[in-house]
Amino acid sequence: MGIFGKVSLSTILQKIFGKKHVKIGIYGPPNVGKTTLANRILRDWTGDIMGSVSEIPHETRRAKWKKDVRVENGNSSLVMDIVDTPGITTKIDFKDFMNTWGLSKEEAKQRAKEATEGVIESIKWLEDIDGVLLVMDSTQDPFTQVNVTILGNLEARNLPVLIAANKIDIEDASPATLKSAFPQHPVVPISALTGYNADNLYSTMVKHFSKKRKKKRR
């Protein structure tokens, strides 16, 4: 046993230099698997889930959060408040819910109205978080305006971002495209649905979100 007894050096360093408790927002466009990922994290570390998931976009229309989720990485750990935010988009057409997903006109209008409120709520949460887990669909073009806007916003605030390249269980997924598109941020390929590579995501989350940074307020 060394001079620090049972406490490891990494734990001591984390106590001196790193954060112990952070508020992490799960962000991204609609239908990239944000809630599926939130459920995966919570199931793995608390045994609970965050919310329901659906193929129909804008299933999550209010931000949901879970406090005090302790994620461990070897001898170090980080306690996170996880916020699952509604998908951010620049447009919402209630007719899409009717034509593509077979909702009635009333249901579609109600869902569209709630979805617009959800986007506003997601943006407001940006003021109150310490870091972002940005979820992208690795089967889709990464250069969407929403991805570019969210990333630019977080960079301007100097908030740490970790990109979860989700849906790698699907055959035409290309997480390498995401890595080359956003080389300035760590990108972790993952399947939130199957849990594939979740351990890698957790260790990267602990390392990346523990770092102390000076947040720029707007």
């Binding site: 986007v119 506003i120 969210i150 707007r218």
Partner: protein, 125 residues
Amino acid sequence: MTKKDRGISFNLVSRHKLQELSSEEKLKFILREVKNGKILVLEHGLTPIEQTSLIERTMKEIEQDTFIGVEMEGYGEDQPTFFQRLLGITRKPRITLIGPANLLKTVKKDNDMIQIKIIPGRGAK
């Protein structure tokens, strides 16, 4: 409006005009024009914080039968080099295209090109 006047208005907004406006004025101007069915090409694009504010305001202005939001495409700010950062030189946001979502559809976007389709049949209200 007579039949002859109908068409899609495509306005190039100069860097000079945009620099004269505060962020607040810029966002009001853009939303007003886009809600009137105009497609704007901003010579000097919006900052990421302004873009986020535009999304937030757009959501507040959505009217389900007449305005479903905006289509916005552009490239982010160039990352300043080490020496530019050292000298405090910031890079400006680049050209951005904004229009009504019921009129524009992004086909493809990569590092070098943004391909957007105008759907005249749907037209702005």
